[in-house]
């Protein structure tokens, strides 16, 4: 996994609350059996004026000029700024995959839905929680063209061009994994003996759980 240390980039403001995962990546694209190829269909229903389908040539699609990501000034943005409860709805990891592939490694919002939040870390992405007041301030400031933020994970800080530095919280384990680009499964398998010992004990208390269902 790619390490996340310090990221600096253009901020794209998506001014709506409760952005759900159906909006981030509509269901028809979930039919792919691959982990890649979702970036072109990020926010598909907002980005394009026609109905998209899997495997389509996007260069021929009519784009919605009103949508924030289609405005020239936000091209190349790497930080998405949003409102409360971002990523609510389904557990589809295709949502962070799509954001990541489009170029957003960082999403800033006052709150996130649990499963989406969790899925971000599995993909080397950082969801940053800042207060509603600060997020409000960032929405106002990023009206300025070319507005960039710096996210410093080690320092747990979001820095603005004006010199403000906003602290954010992050779980120490998740921080460690992001900073070092660590794979969760490899880490868990380091304690395989603990898992086996747990199973041996559990088999005494709840043997029915370990029933062979393949027979």
């Amino acid at each position: 996994m790619k390490k996340y240390t310090v990221e600096q980039g253009v901020v794209a403001p998506l001014d709506r609350a409760n952005v759900d995962t159906d909006l981030i990546i509509p269901k028809q694209f979930l039919k792919s059996i691959k982990r890649t190829g979702f970036g072109d269909n990020l926010f598909d229903e907002l980005r394009y004026l026609d109905e998209g389908y899997l495997g389509q040539d996007i260069s021929k699609r009519p784009i919605n000029p009103e949508f924030v990501l289609n405005q020239p000034r936000y091209q190349g943005a790497t930080i998405l700024l949003a409102r409360t409860n971002f990523g609510c709805g389904s557990s589809r990891e295709h949502a962070p995959w799509a954001l990541n592939e489009y170029g957003f490694r960082t999403v800033i919002a006052p709150s996130f839905a649990d499963i989406f939040f969790n899925n971000c870390f599995k993909n080397g992405m950082l969801p940053v929680i800042l207060s509603e007041e600060i997020v409000d301030q960032l929405f106002k400031e990023c009206a300025e063209e070319g507005y960039q933020l710096t996210i410093d994970l080690e320092a747990q800080e979001v820095r603005t061009p004006k010199g403000d530095a906003f602290k954010f919280e992050i779980d120490p384990f998740r921080k460690h994994c992001l900073l070092n680009g660590l794979d969760d499964i490899g880490l868990t398998l380091q304690v395989a003996d603990d898992i086996r010992a747990f199973e041996e004990k559990a088999k005494q208390v709840r043997p029915w759980v370990f029933q062979d269902i393949q027979a």
């Binding site: 691959k34 982990r35 409860n85 557990s91 589809r92 709150s111 839905a113 384990f173 969760d184 393949q214």
Partner: protein, 472 residues
């Protein structure tokens, strides 16, 4: 020391290792897989040359994009007309064969929506940790399980390690006292709860549903309630084990038998919150005050009792909500203050992991019996949750009631809940739906979803618009 909540007990009984940094390794008893969120996980296993940790923990069934028309289903996977859907269902089949994972394939009588199949087969048992790459996994909490949805990376993690890295949630009790009125169902209860606490009200919490209403509720009803915990932001929803739970589980295909059954019951009897357990948050509703609910907007929290009108902007709590509502009026083609009965419905969908069990189908049939679907309704469909639910309904003659009324009687799957197969809304169409999400585009690009109970959906199909099922 204060007593433990049900969630605390389940957590403690599955705790493999607590790390110094506050994260924990939690053991997973049961893992359900389907075609949409598993292919990349299997690919990851293969690339890393890893094997599933405990094969018997895993069961798969295709549900999200299987077709529900008899014509396509009769030919099995080869009959799936949509190429991408067929490849995905085939990939699940192939992966299960490669890794030797038990699968209820497309035309197995046991196939169906994962959250219907698990409990039906006794694969979901009280006190288990149950996960699935689907956010409606909280359904299994109806059995006093610790159950929640996971992403694809976690699907791979569970396959490879039988564990998940978790951070413990806070405890929330949602207590609904009293007795529900006639015609008011579990779906109305959960919609009323979401309407009250909001779509993020449960974020960071594991919700236990307690109180007289849930004690009186059937297991199917409890599943409907827990299923929608995620629509209130909580990954986990659950109900304590009682005699009803045990009676439901008894003699299921994979339920323990003989001596193990007795041992299991003794353990399951402990699966309730202690009298002196402390919750971080408590929400109380009066069951007698809950009316049949209808969602009007594009989030499950935009829901009102059938007797009320679409809310006006003056009723919104802040600017963020005003913006949300303004966008919702426009998307839904509604005006503030409009009566729900004014909405011209186009389609009716009865199905999904929320409401496709036998009890749901019976409730709809009760309303439909001897009546006809309104001529203004383009399509009204019933999609049973599993092959066995379908068979049971047919044995009871319910399919005939629906067919005579002008409903379509379909093959099991997720269907129009999320429109990954051919069952979808056209832009601008309004649908009375027993599913769980009314997000923009959820049931088809531009489609307009209204969430209701099976009885309310059935009544709407007959009337052509929303009516109060209590006086219908």
């Amino acid at each position: 020391m204060a007593g433990k909540t049900l969630y605390d007990k389940l957590w403690d009984d599955h705790l493999v290792k607590q790390r110094d940094d506050g994260s924990s390794l939690i053991y997973i008893d049961r893992h359900l897989l389907h075609e949409v969120t598993s292919p990349q996980a299997f690919e990851g296993l293969q690339l890393a040359n890893r094997q599933p940790w405990r094969l018997s923990a895993n069961v798969a069934t295709p549900d999200h994009n299987v077709p529900t028309s008899k014509k396509e289903r009769e030919q099995g996977i080869a009959g799936i007309e949509d190429d991408t859907s067929r490849i995905q269902v085939q990939t699940l089949d192939d992966n299960c064969k490669t890794f030797n994972i038990t699968e209820f394939g497309i035309n197995d009588i046991r196939q169906g929506i994962a959250h219907v199949v698990g409990p039906e087969q006794g694969l979901t048992l009280p006190g288990m940790t149950v996960v699935c790459g689907d956010s409606h996994t909280a359904t299994h909490g109806a059995f006093g399980c610790l159950a929640h949805g996971i992403g694809t990376s976690e699907v791979e993690h569970v396959l490879a390690t039988q564990c998940l890295v978790q951070k413990k949630s806070k405890n929330m009790l949602v207590r609904v006292d009293g007795v529900l009125g006639n015609g008011v169902t579990s779906k109305d209860v959960v919609l009323a709860i979401i309407g009250k606490i909001g779509t993020a009200g449960g974020t960071g919490y594991a919700i236990e549903f307690g109180g007289q209403v849930f004690r009186d509720m059937s297991i199917e009803g409890r599943m409907t309630v827990c299923n929608m915990a995620i629509e209130a932001g909580a990954r986990v929803g659950m109900v304590a084990v009682d005699d009803k739970t045990i009676a439901y589980v008894k003699d299921r295909n994979y339920a323990p038998k003989g001596e193990q059954w007795d041992q299991a019951i003794a353990y399951w009897d402990t699966l309730h919150s202690d009298e002196d357990a402390v919750f971080d948050a408590v929400v109380v509703l009066n069951g007698a005050e809950i009316e049949p609910q209808v969602s009007w907007g594009t989030s499950p929290e935009m829901v009102i009792p059938v007797s009320q009108a679409v809310p006006t902007l003056e009723q919104a709590k802040d600017d963020v909500q005003r913006n949300d509502w303004t966008r919702a009026y426009q998307y839904m083609g509604l005006t503030a203050g409009q009566a729900l009965s004014d909405i011209q419905l186009d389609r009716v969908f009865i199905g999904s992991c929320t409401n496709s069990r036998i009890e749901d189908i019976r409730a709809a049939a009760d309303v439909v019996k001897g009546r006809k679907v309104a001529s203004s309704i383009k399509q009204a469909m019933i999609v049973p949750g599993s092959g066995l639910v379908k068979q049971q309904a047919e044995q009871e003659g319910l399919d005939q009631i629906f067919l005579e009324a002008g409903f379509e009687w379909r093959e099991p799957g997720c269907s129009m809940c999320l429109a990954m197969n051919a069952d979808k809304l056209q832009p601008g169409e309004h649908c009375a739906s027993t599913s769980n999400r009314n997000f923009e585009g959820r049931q088809g690009n531009g489609g307009r979803t209204h969430l209701v109970s099976p009885a309310m959906a059935a009544a709407a199909a007959i009337a052509g618009h929303f009516v109060d099922v209590r006086t219908f």
